[in-house]
Symmetry: C2
């Protein structure tokens, strides 16, 4: 058994069932091992950002790491932006990155680079296997690291000669450590704050925005009158009718300041003190008022559910019916021109039970929360790292993890262009993804940000850098060229028809919303 076979067996025996690949010559033995051995599904991406983003989406929905297969330093580099997003989302991923044979590195061949140096900024753990004998143990450790709650990026560099030389027997990853129980004083501190009469909020992050944590937070809110907040972005928030609604802290600094102004104490539950996405001249970085106190009930790594249960017990809230539960409201399905509010209403009206929404709609999607919170229960995924191009790949991964559920990817046209190759993987794997592109033909958010940073009104050169017209991208043609059926909508009625049709069918498709 060679090193590649030893590693594939180790991954499979350690519970890794999916390998998303974009291989090159130095990974051919690994490809041969995937070919020969059973137990690993292989999915090809035509660009590495698709590969790493798909692994992120898979972890968010499956709760288990996928492996990626990447080609040397530049291949890894192409996947870094979505590894950044995955790392910030606390997803677990096992990256297998090929490198030249160890003896070949001294010769500085064209593809030689500092692979570990490329990996380090976006990985929690980086290791280079020195030889084939060490591959199995390194692979088992990589899986264990990736599975460490809430999830970590483990990057294992596999030199070509470690892949092709005779190896040791496969290994099996040790169980990952369980989430640490929070201290009694953390629970008592939060309870004291919530009992103090101060205006309090629970700020939920990590798995705090999923069941059973959400219901516990709702019970605590019912007992104490506290608000229930969530961060602007969540790796995976559970929403919809019957679920506790969290107030999402806005992206826009002034709106966030206004929302948080009233609070005297914020209890952090898997979240950090809220901070602006960017800094702006004359505006604060921290969004809570200066006099607001913070206490940490649980960090994102700790036992968030246990901590909320202990807090609910301490407050005699454990059996109180939760507050802020979203009702099922009969949807309205508006007609007329494509307004953002109207689009949001259509999505809210048609969202199916157990849908997975991957939201990279950026400026176009700011109004989506209200009209969708009364829809049937669903998951909503946003970018934790802020690097655009996360959406289509994460949708691929979510669909691979949950083949029985509908995935809806909401995409700004600017964002979708970064990793549009994901469309091809959707087509090849017949993934049940409906892609909705908000084609406003601009980096619309930047048009706002240009003003927000105090740069005034953009002239021609700046406008050219903030717009995607001249020429306009044809999203239906892009989709069809990648193998997806596609349709345009120019008004809300047309959008509702196309979305309804898409959700009734199987397999991927794309709807282009031609925004005014």
């Amino acid at each position: 058994m060679n090193g590649a076979e030893s590693l594939v067996r180790t991954l499979v025996d350690s519970g890794v069932e999916l390998c998303i690949t974009n291989p090159g010559t130095s990974e051919m033995h690994f490809v041969a091992a995937l070919d020969k051995l059973q137990g690993m599904r292989c999915v090809l991406g035509l660009f590495e950002g698709v590969v790493t983003g798909a692994a992120d989406g898979y972890y968010r929905m499956a709760g288990r790491p996928a492996a990626t297969l990447l080609h040397l330093g530049p291949g890894l580099a192409n996947g870094l932006a979505n590894l950044h997003n995955a790392k910030k989302a606390r997803s677990g991923i096992v990256n297998i990155v090929g490198d030249h044979a160890t003896y070949h590195l001294a010769h500085d061949a064209p593809l030689s680079s500092d692979v570990a140096g490329v990996a380090r900024p976006m990985s929690d753990w980086v290791h280079c296997t020195p030889n084939a004998q060490a591959v199995a143990a390194a692979g088992a450790l990589a899986v264990q690291v990736a599975c460490t709650p809430p999830g970590r990026i483990a990057t294992l560099i596999l030199p070509a000669d470690a892949a092709w030389s005779e190896a040791a027997a496969p290994a099996r990853a040790a169980a990952a450590p369980v989430r640490e129980t929070v201290t009694l004083s953390a629970v008592e501190g939060a309870a004291a704050a919530l009992r103090s009469g101060a205006r309090c909020a629970l700020l939920l992050g990590g798995i705090g925005v999923r069941e059973p944590a959400l219901t516990l937070a709702g019970r605590i809110a019912a007992r104490t009158g506290c608000a229930v907040l969530s961060e602007f972005n969540s790796a995976r928030i559970e929403r919809g009718a019957g679920r506790v609604v969290t107030q999402r802290i806005p992206y826009v600094v002034d709106a966030a300041l206004a929302m948080l102004r009233e609070f005297e104490h914020i209890v952090l539950v898997g979240a950090k003190p809220p901070v602006g996405f960017f800094a702006y001249p004359g505006k604060p970085s921290l969004l809570a008022p200066a006099q607001c106190a913070f206490s940490t009930l649980a960090s994102v790594e700790q036992d968030i559910v246990g901590a909320l249960q202990a807090l609910a017990d301490a407050l005699q809230a454990a059996t109180v019916p939760p507050a802020h539960v979203a009702a099922r409201v009969a949807p309205v399905r508006p007609e007329g021109p494509l307004t953002l509010d109207g689009i949001a209403a259509v999505i809210g009206a048609l969202l199916p039970e157990q849908a997975i929404v991957v939201d990279e709609s950026i400026s176009s999607g700011r109004g989506l929360a209200g009209p969708t919170q009364h829809a049937p229960p669903h998951d909503w995924l946003t970018s934790m790292g802020g690097s655009i191009g996360y959406g289509l790949p994460v949708a691929v991964g979510a669909a691979l993890a949950c083949p029985q559920r509908k995935v809806i990817a909401l995409e700004g046209d600017g964002s979708a262009m970064y990793t549009l190759q994901a469309l091809w993987t959707m087509a090849r794997e017949s993934l049940d993804v409906v892609v909705v592109v908000f084609a406003n033909r601009a980096y619309q958010i930047l048009r706002g940000e240009f003003a927000n940073v105090g740069a005034g009104a953009p002239g021609q050169r700046a406008t050219d850098m903030l717009t995607l017209d001249r020429p306009a991208l044809d999203w239906c043609a892009l989709a069809r060229a990648h193998g997806l059926p596609a349709a345009q909508a120019t008004d809300l009625g047309g959008f509702a028809r196309e979305l309804g049709r898409a959700l009734a069918g199987d397999g991927p498709c794309l709807i282009e919303l031609l925004m005014a």
Copy 2:
């Protein structure tokens, strides 16, 4: 004047005339400065790999660095693969990478990352400006570094508050150091080897494959009988009728070993001892025979032209008519099915005077050298770093540098998918680029490599990872969706018609070769 304006003025005053951008919020002041000040052409790319690859192509043809504008760590990360290629091509680039305001970094906002850490593996120089006052001097130094022969990757990190705060006056880059003259002993060593009667070759790299070095090499070959070789890849090689033909060292190891077997002494002129692109089990890394001696006439950084002139003088070859000069041969224009040899013949027959060929045809292009070497004089650019996805962006940069010349980008379909967003920039800027896609619907080179590494015959899972069918990409639709006219060719006659039509027109277009 704020820091962004100070930096833009510094770049312009230092001779940087082109900024290729993919900005975000933290770069809005820089965009505003580009908008307000005169002297910098701005070109938008819809993905950062397009931006950095275009800067590479621009330097190869213009000999001056362009600036790039990139958004924080993940934006830079998306550009790294083509920075790797540019660094290996010894291109000079000034990367301006925005970062959060310095005071904002402590709060670990979503887009925070180790920007310098991301930059380092693919940069020759990395610097973070601490404040607006230091911006001008840092910018001037970055340009000087980028201009240091043969060219370097300079990455300047610009925190948002350094961009928006009051700054010092602009600066101007000091002149870059000139190329170092080689030692007399280097010249004498090479001359002695060439006079020794041993089977000798000159191995040319860097600007050694361009005029006037090529002619000098041809004179030396005429005098001494030595062979004239070039590396497998060249950043920019001058070819065609009337020019000295170099023998390109093959990619395939066995073919390279066979070619080099006869040599007893290789004189390195801007090149390194030849090494395999990859390592293979049981095959050597070094391609020259063990008993072959090497002497270095000039490194790639040194004065290659002066060294060759001194060597020619030492050999009394300075006025000898050069050997190995390609004649103008009347082209044949074959008809029939799309064979690789036939395609090469069509390209050779139609290549216009002063064409710039950007070759990322990978396995499909191995036969191009012969049929094109008798075409009118032209430049031929290949990937020095081996990371695929270099071709379309480099073609963008070459066209920006040389608006009067025809650019022909030869692309494998697999490779072109990595940075297909470059098509949009071609359309927006009306660049005179003819893209030819060899649509064989496979990572064809990997099908060979799978066998080369000894992995045997691929099964279904491996085949799926090496093929791009299911579904087939529609390259004409992709081109049109990005704003380019496009046509398919299914035989050589059709290809010749479409290529002829494309070369007769202006502006970008794409021809898809439907390979059997």
